[in-house]
């Protein structure tokens, strides 16, 4: 739930009972005021009734205000005080029960005691309750409306720096090698938040840079001892008196050293890609580059007897570093060859801004989502280092190319959607 909606809800939860209490209170207050008014009128009517009794002989002809029901009876009972009471009576015209206020008083005249009772409908009070209820709804409605308005203003103006910070954070990526920049606002809390965030991300950023520098330096430092190892191996194999099993062991060492150095180069490459060290970019033809890269693999295609089919509906031009484009394509195509059958097929297709590379092959033993992670590999393929697709991913990330993998009808399919030309 949004913060503003949440605050509206809380306002309503608290203000609704308060409003109801206020309404009830004002209802009873106004009703008692009205009742006092009615009673006053009744008292005045009683006085005029008494006057009438004094002046008139015939009680039957007594009439008072048109809307009061007025009766005078001779009674033996007598009390001094005037009495007020509430009662209901059936109204023939409207065919319903109606509320009335009754005043009863006794009056002595010519030694006769008269009971004067006057009825007055209390319609006002009922209408008052109704009126109050509807005004309550009206108030709630306008309150809600004003809450919404206030909140809209709040989020538009007061919360604006907060949402700005939020969206900046959303877009922030360490990999872009930029420090987090947040605009200061005139709200103290938001400034504090921004300061804390900047401090935190700066720390993370410097740690990240240091770590990358470490990777880069470590990789460089590893190259030299590796070069020593490999050169010594090469000298060692020149020896005439090595036994066969010794040769085999040397070969194992050589293979491992080679693997280590290619791995090391790959890690360096990854760091360089992520550091955006490949700055130069030209608009390149994918078609030409694919054809060039494929030439390198001619021999292995022949060797494995793999059928290669290319279908270029159009050429795809894209602004990219030439070295990286070749690495990207070589890695994908190499993959298509490696994870293929003997006598298998590879299809390379360009349609609009989509490049699709699909090849026959067994289903993966690892999850497709893990495919682009470093060192995730099918353990049955020994020669694979498990870093080729991580490189693919990091290149595509840099250039906003959307790469997806799926397995369909016994084919591995890699689909690259290039962003539109700007």
């Amino acid at each position: 739930m949004k913060l503003t909606s949440k605050s509206i809800l809380y306002y309503l939860v608290i203000s609704l009972p308060l409003l109801i209490i206020a309404c009830l209170f004002s209802y009873y207050l106004i009703r008692s005021e009205l009742r006092d008014g009615t009673d006053e009128i009744l008292a005045r009517e009683k006085l005029s009734a008494e006057k009438l009794i004094n002046s008139s002989a015939n009680l039957d002809t007594l009439t008072l205000l048109p809307d009061s029901f007025f009766t005078v009876r001779i009674t033996s009972y007598h009390a001094d005080a005037q009495q007020y009471a509430d009662t209901t009576m059936y109204d023939k015209v409207d065919n319903e029960l109606k509320n009335y206020r009754v005043s009863k008083s006794f009056y002595n005249h010519n030694k006769t005691t008269y009971l004067i009772s006057i009825l007055k409908p209390t319609l006002e009070e009922d209408e008052l309750a109704e009126g109050l209820l509807s005004s309550l709804f009206l108030v709630v409605f306008f309150l809600l409306l004003s809450f919404l308005l206030v909140n809209w203003i709040l989020s538009k103006w007061i919360w604006k720096p907060f949402y700005k910070t939020l969206s900046t954070l959303h877009d922030y990526e360490l990999k872009k090698n930029e420090l987090l920049i947040l605009n200061p606002s005139n709200t103290k809390e938001f400034n504090e938040l921004n300061d804390a965030l900047i401090k935190m991300t700066d720390k993370i950023y410097t740690d990240y840079i240091r770590q990358k520098e470490f990777t880069e330096n470590a990789s460089h430092e590893i190259q030299t001892p590796l070069a020593v190892i490999r050169s010594k191996i090469e000298l060692l194999i020149q020896s005439e008196n090595l036994k066969e099993d010794e040769m085999l062991q040397i070969q194992t060492i050589e293979t491992a050293a080679n693997k280590l150095s290619t791995l090391n180069k790959a890690l360096l490459l990854l760091v360089k890609i992520e550091n955006h060290q490949f700055k130069e970019a030209n608009e390149l033809s994918l078609k030409i580059h694919i054809e060039n890269v494929l030439k390198q693999f001619d021999w292995v295609l022949t060797d494995k007897n793999i059928q290669l089919k290319t279908e270029f509906k159009n050429d795809l031009l894209f602004k990219i570093n030439p070295e990286l484009l070749d690495i990207l394509l070589a890695n994908l195509l190499q993959n298509a060859i490696r994870h293929n059958f003997k006598n298998g097929t590879i299809d390379v297709k360009i349609t609009n801004r989509t490049l699709t590379i699909s090849n026959t092959g067994d289903e993966l033993k690892i999850k497709p989502t893990e495919l682009f992670e470093r060192f995730k590999k099918d353990t049955t393929k020994q020669e694979s280092l498990g870093i080729g697709l991580a490189i693919v991913k990091s290149i595509t990330d840099v250039y906003n190319i959307n790469v997806t993998y799926f397995y369909e009808e016994k084919h591995h399919v890699f689909q690259l959607v290039f962003p539109p030309k700007d």
Binding site: V228, E234, Q238, E254, T262
Partner: protein
Amino acid sequence: MRILLVEDEIELQKSIVQYLDYAGNIVEAVSEFRKASDKIHEFDYDCILIDINITNGSGFDLVKELKQAKSKAGIIIISAKNSLDDKITGLDLGADDYLTKPFHLSELNARIKALIRRKNFEGGKAIDINEITIYPDDRRVLVKEQELDLTTTEFRLLLYLITNKNRVVSKNSISQHLLNDDDIDQIDNHNFVYSHLKNLRKKLVEKGSEDYIQTIYGIGYKFKVND
């Protein structure tokens, strides 16, 4: 051939010297900038191998010095940095080749030989090994005066083996040389080397050449000629 090696990693220096120091090569090695600078002004070398990161200086500055002194020596930069920028800088300064560490000694040897051939305009010259004659620039091979029809890969394979003759050349070194790759994830290349080598051997023997190529069990091949 007189070669100067400027490399401050002593063990690597020793390996390179040991590998190159045969068949009339004189190899000198220094590990420090000033000494290297003195040497290049003192002697004429056919080829100078320069590491970029050396004690007390940069290999690039040595290249500059050599060019200022109008040295005719071939220059190969050997660097741990596999960066295109460094490669371009080096070549722009006047270096003839750039090799990234770690490299195979056989590859370094092949690069030196190729460079010297280019420098001395020996491209047109033939390399003679008994009944085999190779014209590197024309990519032609004659066996007992008869034209041998080789594919590009087979030709490069033969040249590489002959350049490193009487040396064991590992399969890894051959495949990296032929595929020209600083490649990331290697496809198992040994099959590739094996099949090309088999064809080359067959073609040579068919034309009446002696079978010079020995298989060194497990590790690689050797082009064996008795000088």
